[in-house]
Symmetry: C2
DNA sequence: ATAATTGCAAACACTTTGCATTTAT
DNA sequence: ATAAATGCAAAGTGTTTGCAATTAT
């Protein structure tokens, strides 16, 4: 069975209080002064992802970012140029994904962050 | 100005004839017997991505995959478990992205591949 | 002729892993 | 007591880069 270790408790707390997805290194930056190892953070993140407690996705650079799966989650539009984030209060693809599920018998993994270009960066 | 080198010609040809996005290594597997280097392939892919000729996205493992931007492009639903691909003949998110553009002044970068779970793998 | 591109090998950055030690149960 | 988790350091991958040699214009 899963043990509630210091690493796991702290990782959960940090993801819970974060309002955007974090990288393993983001978490490590917060936790390394508590004698928590980066590899231990990766192992927690993997374990919890497999357990379905955490959602893993990749940012635009291909780096893994993690969020706690919660009812109160948000979607973001992130500009790949200026990295400004626009928080949405609804899921923009919910309808489209329902349709895919019905028509194609395929359940899409929703991502929290959608990348593109904001109007200020669109010259 | 951009020179039409052997590497560039071959990379374009290969992406043109591929019906799914390819990794740099996929392309290298085809081209290394023609004395073309992996680093040269990466440089071509980068250059063409910046030129807007090629679209770059990340697969579920965070590895970069590339497609030639064409009118005749397709979207795929890829099962993260069995890796089966379902080819769609329309863009499932076109409407949602138009709405985002109008409401949030943000232009979403469409991806070719959407990850999730197919019904056979959904126990 | 010359500016752009390549090959090669080395460097990078993120992530994973083996093994001895520690910790939650 | 013991199965599970961690720390540490080393290894693994995909990707990038510096520089001298080559090639398209």
């Amino acid at each position: 069975m899963l043990k509630k270790t210091k690493t796991r408790k702290r990782v959960e707390e940090i993801l819970l209080s974060a309002d955007t997805p974090l990288t393993a290194n983001d978490i490590y930056t917060i936790l390394h002064q508590e004698q928590i190892t980066l590899s231990s953070i990766y192992r927690t993140l993997d374990t919890y992802t497999k357990e379905g407690i955490i959602a893993k996705e990749n940012n635009i650079d291909g780096i893994a970012i993690y969020t706690l799966k919660q009812d109160d989650h948000h979607h973001f539009l992130e500009c790949k140029n200026c990295h400004k984030k626009i928080k949405l209060d609804y899921c923009p693809y919910h309808q489209a994904n329902s349709k895919i599920k019905k028509n194609n018998a395929f359940e899409v993994d929703e991502t929290n962050v959608v990348y593109g270009t904001c109007k200020d960066c669109k010259k």
